[in-house]
């Protein structure tokens, strides 16, 4: 009995890790298949589409042939680069605005309200509450509020801040406003998650070591909440750059505020110019990766003192 128990020991102990690793591969399979089908295949298809050329023999709208027409990229970039630039500009301003609004909000909920868990939970629900309603509806609601006949424009005209024929809807301000508004929860929640874990004894240590509240914030609180700030800005900046709802004339924008998302959508749905739409999509993707990469490598330097 005792010997039997001993003789069995060796085999399973040695085999177990190997068997486990094979099991891990099997468990990984659904994810790999899913990613392959929904990410890799469409990406390849997108690249292939972006290189297609019009069928000059049997010409028809939306009919393109397989080709290696790399000139598509130059063409769309030459035509739309001001709009690409504008997209990055709007997204960057909206990201900064959302950060400036969300950080104090997240600090209030995560640090100040920590002593009152009930209020903290309520405040968090309020941050998430807008998600219960479609963002299209909410954006349209802003359009109504800021309409020429609406209360805001009337009030501002009354104060002579806005001229008699001025609008708010359709201006860059409105588009950036919409972007900021729509992405605040995506900014606030990751920052809240970082600040909620912040050990307040570090702040006491900062004060004890001659740092005034502002310095303690810059040297201790901010660096410790940086992971939340980084994910929040990425979750805001990336989708905001490609956004096509806020800037569209049906919502808060006008033809003067067109962003790259609107161009892609128009080129695809209205012009059926699939290669151009695909090329623009890929350009947007690459252009977003560049600042994001720089940003990530900058913020990875933890020593911010």
């Amino acid at each position: 009995m005792a010997f039997g128990a001993f003789s069995n020991v060796d085999t399973p102990v040695i085999d177990a890790p190997r068997r486990r690793s094979r099991a891990a591969l099997w468990l990984l399979l659904p994810g790999v298949v899913y990613l392959g089908a929904t990410y890799l295949a469409p990406l390849v298809s997108l690249i292939v589409t972006s290189l297609k050329a019009p069928d000059l023999v049997n010409f028809d709208v939306g009919r393109y042939l397989y080709a290696f027409n790399i000139g598509n990229y130059g063409t769309v970039l030459g035509e739309y680069w001001p709009i690409v630039l504008r997209s990055f500009e709007y997204a960057a301003i909206a990201t900064v605005a959302a950060l400036l609004i969300s950080y104090p909000l997240a600090y209030f909920i995560g640090v100040v309200l920590r002593k009152y868990p009930l209020w903290q939970a309520l405040a968090l629900i309020l941050v998430i509450a807008p998600f219960f309603m479609s963002f299209l509806l909410r954006t349209l609601a802003w359009k109504a509020i800021f309409a020429d006949e609406g209360p805001v424009v009337g009030f501002l005209q009354h104060l002579n801040i806005l001229g008699a024929n001025a609008h708010l809807n359709g201006t860059p301000f409105m588009v950036i406003f919409g972007l900021t508004y729509n992405f605040i929860p995506f900014m606030a929640l990751p920052i809240y998650a970082s600040l909620e874990r912040l050990d307040l004894r570090f702040l006491e240590a900062g004060a004890d070591l001659y740092a005034n509240p502002a310095t303690t914030f810059l040297r201790v609180t901010l660096p410790l909440s940086l992971p939340g700030v980084v994910s929040g800005t990425l979750l805001t900046f990336i989708p905001a750059t490609g956004d096509y709802v806020n800037a569209s004339p049906q919502f808060l924008g006008s033809t003067q505020t067109t962003m790259i998302g609107n161009v892609i959508s128009d080129t695809y749905f209205n012009l059926s110019d699939y290669p151009s739409a695909a090329a623009l999509s890929i350009i947007l993707m690459v252009l977003i990766l560049i600042p994001v990469g720089i940003y990530l490598s900058l913020t990875k330097t933890e020593d911010l003192l």
Binding site: A205, G206, D208, A211, V220, L224, D303, L305
Partner: protein, 381 residues
């Protein structure tokens, strides 16, 4: 290093400090003066107000009433970052996103001291951790973190160094080592140390003055030997080591001593070692001052004539051998259980369970308390 940190610290004065939190009073009218250069320990059980006192001095709490003076200067209304005080926190509170060196230099940078990194290295050498200057706190052991916390505080040469149970998280062996290290650093740098702890042994080994705190008030204050040999209250007698306490009426008193009747036995206490001289009093004696006798001593007429007090006969109810000493519990009818520590000068215990014994002690070792033991069942130490 001693040359670099040659300030001798400053006096700390607490004048009529009261701190109330919603629902309870943590500290009631506390008056305390800690002279410059001393190693002062605030000792007490958890919840006695000692950590609150420390936080008030650091400026992390605001007193409800009273003034705090450091080096004669009123700092009651100063913010923590404006006070010449540094704290070694119980949790160390080392900044996790900075290296050890940056942690230590933090306070120096804030005050714009020249050569902050050089001074930080110097402080790290003092705690023998300079070779780990580039690490992050999470990569250090508990004892190393404690030393970094200490270096981060003393590098600023504060007028007053506050230590909030800094050794609490360490294991026994490391704690002993750190106690000695802290004491030698205090000797080196000569700052005023205010140490808060619930560990009576730690307070006694390290501090030159100990204040025993209970329920927001200081019960007794003095040198460790003084507190131990002459406790003035039942709380001090029991919190600082163990005591055998007896309560009875004073039946006679002379110029040099008082005599107390304990269940028919007359016990004598030197007058200057007794806080009260009339009525119902509680007197006591430390367990290691007692001698076990297996025969009734030939007592001369009155108590005290022989210079010793004798209590008995009693029955030994428990014998526990602990190497250096043996602890006996002796049940004396009408008096209660008496604890006796006896050095093991011979092999093994001298008497066994069930033996009939008498307990005696030199009158000079007895003390008389100002109050009585609370009738709350206590777990023995």
């Amino acid at each position: 290093m001693a040359g670099a940190l040659d300030d001798s610290g400053a006096d700390l004065e607490l004048v009529g400090i009261t701190k109330r939190f919603p629902g309870f009073t943590a500290i009631e009218n506390l008056n305390l003066t800690i002279p410059a250069g001393s190693f002062f320990a605030l000792l007490g059980p958890s919840g006695c107000g000692k950590t609150t006192t420390l936080r008030l001095v650091a400026g992390l709490e605001t007193p409800t009433a009273g003034r705090i003076l450091i080096g004669g200067k009123d700092v009651t209304d100063s913010k923590p970052h404006q006070r010449p005080v540094n704290t070694v926190f119980q949790s160390y509170a080392l900044f996790p996103h900075m290296t050890v060196l940056r942690n230590v230099a933090f306070g120096l940078y804030r005050r714009g001291v020249s050569n902050p990194l050089g001074l930080a290295h110097e402080a790290l050498r003092l705690v023998e951790l300079d070779h780990l200057a580039g690490r992050r706190p999470a990569q250090l052991s508990g004892g190393q973190q404690q030393r970094v916390a200490l270096a981060r505080a003393i590098v600023n040469k504060p007028a007053l160094l506050l230590l909030d149970e800094p050794l609490g998280a360490l294991d026994l062996k490391l704690r002993r080592q750190m106690q000695l290290e802290l004491k030698s650093i205090q000797d080196d740098v000569g700052l005023t140390f205010l140490h808060v702890t619930h560990d009576q042994e730690e307070a006694m080994t390290m501090a030159d003055t100990v204040a025993v705190m209970n329920k927001g008030e200081i019960e007794q204050m003095g040198a460790p030997e003084e507190l131990y040999e002459l406790p003035k209250t039942a709380f001090v007698a029991n919190f600082l080591g163990q005591s055998n306490l007896f309560t009875g009426n004073v039946v006679s008193s002379s110029a040099t001593s008082i005599v107390v009747d304990i269940a028919g036995t007359k016990l004598e206490v030197p007058r200057e070692r007794a806080q009260r001289h009339t009525g119902l009093v509680t007197i006591g004696v430390r367990p290691e001052k007692l001698t076990l006798l297996v025969e009734k001593p030939q007592s001369r007429s009155a108590a005290g004539a022989s210079g010793v007090n004798v209590l008995g006969p009693g029955t030994v109810t428990d014998v526990s051998f602990s190497g250096v000493s043996t602890q006996y519990l002796v049940e004396v009818p009408g008096v209660g259980t008496i604890t006796v520590f006896a050095q093991n000068m011979v092999f093994g215990p001298v008497v066994n369970r069930g033996s009939e014994v008498w307990v005696s002690w030199t009158i000079d070792h007895a003390f008389g308390l100002a109050d009585h033991e609370e009738v709350v069942p206590r777990l023995s130490d």
